[in-house]
Subunit: 373 residues, 2 copies
């Protein structure tokens, strides 16, 4: 759960929102609240901060507007419930929030919410209107991911030595803002795409031998994993290396960790880690480590073919245009991938031997500082 | 990783398989190996053990048979690699196994394996031929799930007090056979379908107040979660309650935990927990706890409609025929669901208040012994 100071700050923001609405009503005016526009037209890349952010466009939502009234009512309901959660010291999943707010409005044959597709965007409206992370509103997403390594974390009063959790590891919850880092002995943070690869590294005692905090994302990283990476990097000033498959999906995972995502551009200051580098897999790994016989073909149509690019090719082609990939290394990487039409998985390194990734591949790359920016 | 005794037993079985093949070759005969037939025709419900198992049909796979030769070769490769893994004290994901074995056969323009769809069924062949769990062959699936509660587990030499892991919890690995239970103070085991509900219970200190081991499945339970439930139940002699959504998908999750699954019928003695009961959600909960306004409609067509049953209705309709649901309670439950055409989620209990599930619903059900068998 967020700290008491954070709670006080969020409560202040919620109260300010409520007071503004009440003031307008007292003045006999149409109550509204204002929030940044979230459509792609208002998402921009902050070249200084090296991450996505929302631009300056803002829009108002009015109560006395037939197109806005329902959403306005729902936003007030969510705001009021979040205030209650903070005051009670509880957190709720966005599914629970939906069930807590769903009811038939007395005197009307109408429900406050019909399904969760109505409440989810309202949560985001409130986050952006208040400039508060949803975790600060005591709302949480699903937990996914695991952590291993030389770090001691205090969580809800329990002091957890993450080096003493066997091969199981610490389950990464949705809310990690309240983690108190008691001490650590880590040289860097390694975020790993697949759970199986993280298991491999732990089995080889990589986290112990390399003094590495290993975070297993288990595919597309959860909000908890993204926030944890951001927090550990900022609080401990440790480098972050991201280890994904060498394919458009893996590079998109890296992109989300380093620059943020379009949908959550307003939160990338808290969810993204612009200093993170990609350690692998890369196209040049294929020759360097003799992986030619264990690559796979990209799916879809090459850009030069009629109807192309599609699928993997399209994703790689789109990434060529990302502002944070406008450098020689990434352009070269993506162009090579498209030209050769191949992808290479993390697990392909097992073709040599199982311990190769932990004993040779990763330590070598780190020693030589061989990363994609 | 499995224990040394288990490793020795698995090695003996692998060697026996290899010796049989070698003997046949020496005798100038066509080498083969035998394994149980895994098709549904050979899956049966063991009424005494209350779980699925394979019947007595067996089939032979010959080397000198044009339809068998490739699979035979692949099975020998997998067997040989598993022997190596056990001797090295390493485990491998089935993805790594694929990459370890994929190569071009010298002198032939042919690969040992084209993709993982070829190696995965061979792993199952070997498991059934040897009557060994894949974890005993040092192979692992993806990890998913979390554990909380009054139990101390020794994992790879680390002693982990699962009551001292804050709101994070212990990540449940794929292989749990080697967990050594140091001590526990639990009254029962609660397996929870959604991660969000497990988080709710932990936030309410349910695991502490109720002396409950809470296992979060995060949807369809992983092999690790199923095996862990089986192990904890058998070693600690604790009752197991399964808490799912009140819908066909949730009941299928319960079905897999209690009786096993068709595909893995040969492993249900190690993955299923026939003594497990369903604690909720049930159709009668809707009236009992005033959830009428927060139910949802079943998807698909009712059996009485033309073209029906489909989707949710079909799944519920199919479950009526499951042998382990041939009792008054389950027949009544499933018939009521189909008749009313509704489902009710775990999170719907939040409509009262967030703590209701932890303070009232679950303790009441346990006190009154109100379960589905």
């Amino acid at each position: 759960m967020p700290s008491l100071q954070e709670d006080e700050e969020t409560l202040r923001r919620l109260q300010r929102l409520g007071n503004q609405v009440v003031e307008r009503i007292k003045e006999g005016e149409n109550p509204y609240f204002e929030r940044p526009v979230r459509s792609r037209s208002n998402v921009e890349f902050d070249n200084k901060e090296k991450r996505l952010k929302l631009g300056d466009s803002r829009s108002k939502r009015y109560f006395m507007n037939i197109g806005h009234a329902r959403k306005f009512m729902q936003t007030m309901l969510v705001a009021s419930k979040c205030k209650e959660l903070i005051e009670e010291g509880r957190t709720a999943s966005i599914r629970e929030l939906y069930y807590q707010l769903k009811h038939t409005i007395p005197g009307l044959n109408e429900n406050t919410l019909e399904d969760q597709d109505e409440s989810n965007p309202v949560v985001v409206d409130l986050e952006t209107a208040l400039d508060s992370l949803r975790e600060h509103l005591h709302l949480k997403a699903d937990a996914k991911g695991a952590l291993f390594g030389p770090i001691v974390i205090e969580d809800e009063g329990d002091v957890i030595d993450c080096l003493k959790l066997g091969k199981s590891g610490l389950h990464v919850p949705s809310i990690v803002d309240d983690y108190n880092i008691v001490e650590h002995d880590a040289d860097y943070i390694l975020v790993v795409e697949t759970g199986a690869m993280a298991d491999r590294l732990v089995e080889e005692d990589f986290h112990k031998k390399e003094n590495a905090i290993v975070i297993s994302a288990g595919g597309q990283p959860s909000r908890g994993v993204r926030r944890l990476t951001n927090i550990l990097h900022n609080r401990l000033d440790l480098p972050v290396y991201v280890f994904t498959d060498g394919d458009p999906y893996g590079y998109y995972i890296y992109s989300v960790i380093t620059a943020g995502s379009m949908n959550l551009a307003f939160e990338s200051n808290r969810l993204a880690t612009p200093d993170a580098n990609l350690i692998g897999m890369t196209m040049s790994d294929i020759e360097e480590y003799g992986l030619e016989s264990v690559t796979e073909k990209l799916k879809g149509k090459h850009p030069d073919k009629s109807g192309g690019p599609t699928k993997d090719y399209k994703r790689a082609h789109d990434m060529l245009k990302y502002e944070w990939f406008q450098n020689k290394e990434w352009q070269n990487e993506l162009e090579t991938m498209i030209e050769r039409g191949v992808r290479v998985e993390q697990q392909a390194l097992a073709t040599n031997n199982l311990q190769f990734v932990a004993e040779t591949y990763l330590p070598e790359k780190i020693k030589r500082g061989k990363f994609l920016p």
